[in-house]
């Protein structure tokens, strides 16, 4: 006992200790790699690299850690920066860089948290634009403080004119953050989750996307100088980027952008691709412009699509909540009938039990009769339990998953749940449901809700019909192989003439007591199932409601309901 407690304690301590250590090691390795790459990606005569991913890694790390641990991050990064730069630049210069980078990264993160919001998810256009604005603004400010600008301003370094040094430093840092930070953040937060939930079909699509991204980048940046004759080929990279943005949101889009950018650096550095004829300075500027011009529309598109998905999901959630609320209202309306249905078995149980008690007090014990009584009590008890069970499952906040379901079972469940209501309304129900009907696809609880609503409405509409003529007909039939149609016909008062469809409007009611939401929510449920629901008056008397649902096989299996993520 004590040992396990100690073991658990030590494992907790180990977790508390190893997890940050692993992350810090990862950060150190990442920063080292980024700095080395930044140094690699510089063209011959340039003092400044094409891109400085080191600052982007630092910004990402700070964004992912709470403020209280920032000193740890900075403490890990500083010696690595020094180690990388040790041989290349004088001590004062890398020390300046370390301090400058730290201030730049911290202020960028603070500004991002304030302006763009926390956490960064790149799922809204506002956040994407704010992220970009902060990156550029801070990178420009930072550029004024770098050794290369200050020294060129003082005339101590002759490699660049001051404005050029400014522009290069700003763009190098800004583009690095634009390209590296979003994928690092998103992968760190959601990458594992998204990957582990990837269905096989989508995994195949991801492979195709990666392949086409690499292929398009190779065509645009990895071919020989002849590419210069067809500069439009540069736009080829746009296609896989669009594909990724549409299908895989900000995570996919930012990753693909990083991939394209990396290959463009590699191609341009290897004297290939469309920028081959330019001076090194122009090459770098062209690359920066290319990245920014790609990044903005692709990330905005991904954000717009994510916004739409989120809105759709919220709508879907609201519809389900509304469906649940109207189900509660239906149960409220049926409460009298349901109470009646429960009181029947309770009556039999009580009468049986009291009869048995009476029998037991008699001198001549009729044991077989007592046995029969007890059997009946058990039977009635089960019946009462089934009434409650049906009610509970109807009130369950559904999992909203479509599954193949037989129309017959929906109708059977409906009539079981509405049994008392139908009976108390003195309505005779006629069923005509062929046994070989194809199954439909839908949410069982919600379909039950729709049919129950139609049945209860039908019964209510027959309040003024003489009891012996109160007839509710449920007829199902296949419609052209792709649909199943269920008709619910009553012999009641019918729909208001000339505005039959108005009964589906919210808050439209012909009853004194209804919310007027029943049919409108029914229609939205059916539409979410890809089906149709409408009503019309019968030639002689009453109304018929038509419910069209997709058959199991015709449905694409991806109804609006379970769309989203």
């Amino acid at each position: 006992m004590v040992e396990t407690a100690i073991a658990r304690d030590s494992s907790v301590a180990l977790n508390r200790f190893t997890l940050p250590v692993a992350q810090l090691v990862l950060l150190g390795a990442g920063y080292f790699l980024a700095a080395r790459l930044g140094l690699e990606f510089r063209f011959q005569s340039s003092q400044i690299g094409v891109v400085w991913p080191g600052s982007a890694v630092l910004v990402s790390a700070l964004l992912l850690t709470p403020r209280s641990s920032w000193w740890l991050v900075l403490a890990v990064v500083a010696p690595i920066h020094a180690a990388v730069m040790f041989d290349l630049v004088p001590v004062w210069r890398w020390a300046w860089q370390i301090v400058g980078n730290a201030i730049f990264a911290v202020s960028t993160v603070e500004a991002l948290r304030r302006v763009a919001g926390d956490p960064l998810h790149f799922g809204s256009r506002r956040q994407v634009l704010a992220f970009m604005a902060v990156c550029f603004a801070l990178a420009w400010i930072y550029a004024f403080t770098t050794p290369s600008f200050v020294r060129s301003l003082l005339g101590m370094e002759a490699v660049f004119e001051p404005p050029t040094a400014l522009l290069r430093t700003a763009l190098t840092n800004a583009t690095a953050i634009l390209l590296v930070t979003p994928p690092v953040l998103l992968w760190a937060r959601h990458g594992h989750h998204r990957l582990s939930q990837l269905p096989t079909r989508q995994a195949l699509e991801v492979v195709l996307i990666v392949g086409s991204t690499v292929a398009a980048s190779l065509v645009a940046f990895g071919t020989g100088p002849e590419i210069v004759r067809f500069p439009s080929l540069l736009l080829l990279t746009f296609l896989p980027l669009l594909w990724t943005a549409v299908r895989y949101g900000p995570l996919g889009a930012s990753t693909a952008l990083l991939c394209v950018a990396a290959l463009s650096i590699w191609g341009t550095g290897s004297r290939l691709g469309p920028f081959v004829m330019m001076t090194d300075a122009d090459k770098i500027l062209s690359l920066h412009l290319f990245w920014i011009l790609m990044w903005v529309p692709i990330m905005l598109l991904a954000a717009t699509i994510r916004e739409r998905d989120v809105a759709e999901e919220a709508l879907h959630r609201q519809r389900n909540q509304l469906a649940h609320v109207t189900r509660s209202a239906t149960v409220g309306e049926l409460s009298g009938a349901l109470a009646h249905e429960l009181r029947q078995p309770l009556m039999s149980i009580l009468a049986n039990a009291q009869a048995a008690l009476r029998l037991l007090s008699q001198e001549q014990l009729d044991l077989p009769e007592v046995r029969r009584i007890l059997e009946d009590i058990a039977q009635d008890d089960k019946h009462a339990a089934s009434v409650i069970g049906r009610l509970r499952s109807f009130m369950k906040d559904g999992k909203n998953q479509f599954e193949p379901i037989a129309v017959e079972s929906v109708v059977r469940d409906t009539l079981a749940l509405g049994h008392s209501a139908v009976e108390l309304s003195k309505v005779k129900v006629e069923l005509d449901i062929p046994a070989d009907l194809p199954r439909v696809r839908g949410d069982p609880v919600q379909l039950l809700q729709v049919v129950l609503n139609l049945v209860v409405n039908g019964c209510e509409a027959m309040g003024r019909t003489p009891p012996l003529e109160r007839r509710l007909t449920l007829r199902a039939m296949p419609q052209g192989g792709r649909f199943v149609e269920l008709l619910v016909a009553d012999s009641g008062s019918g729909l208001p003439k000339g505005e039959e469809d108005r009964v589906f409007e919210p808050f439209f009611t012909t009853k004194g007591n209804g919310l007027g939401l029943g049919l409108s929510i029914c229609r939205s449920i059916v539409m979410a199932h890809g089906g149709r629901l409408w009503g019309e008056n019968n030639p002689e008397r009453g109304a018929t409601f038509h419910l069209m649902l997709h058959t199991e096989s015709s449905h694409d299996g991806n109804g609006t309901l379970d769309r989203g993520r």
């Binding site: 309306e333 009298g336 149980i349 005779k428």
Partner: protein, 168 residues
Amino acid sequence: MTETGLSIAVVDDEESVRVALRRLCVAYGIDAETFASVEQLFDSLEGRRFDCLVLDAHMPGYGGLDAQTWLHESGIRIPAVIITGRDDDEMRIRSREVGATACLCKPIDAEILFGAIRLAVRNSPNHGPIRWSEGLKRPWESPGAEPPATDAPNAVRERHYRPVPGFP
């Protein structure tokens, strides 16, 4: 408490309730005959004499209150107890108006049921066997038969804001 010697008719559409009530009556020494519908009861009323009718108010077709109303309006005074699955004040008032002694809500304790029956029998004038030929037509046989307004406010339509005991 023994009601030995009484002969009553029980009308309820639910078989389990019919069986249970008959058992209860037999156990208490009461002679009970059960019917599944008002029509069945009326068909066998001819020449019979029941001390009391126990009528379920809600049945498909004609309800117990309809039956009691017709009997009452036809001047036939048989002691009657209405039993109902719905806790309904209006039902109680109407039952009294048409001469039923009590309107009891299911589930009904044996003491209460038999107490009501005893009261009904004690209060009612001594009545003889029923003769349909004596001017009473079965209501559904008369032309243009409409059920009385008892069930006009549709059962489903009524809303219950009161919590129903024993209901989740």
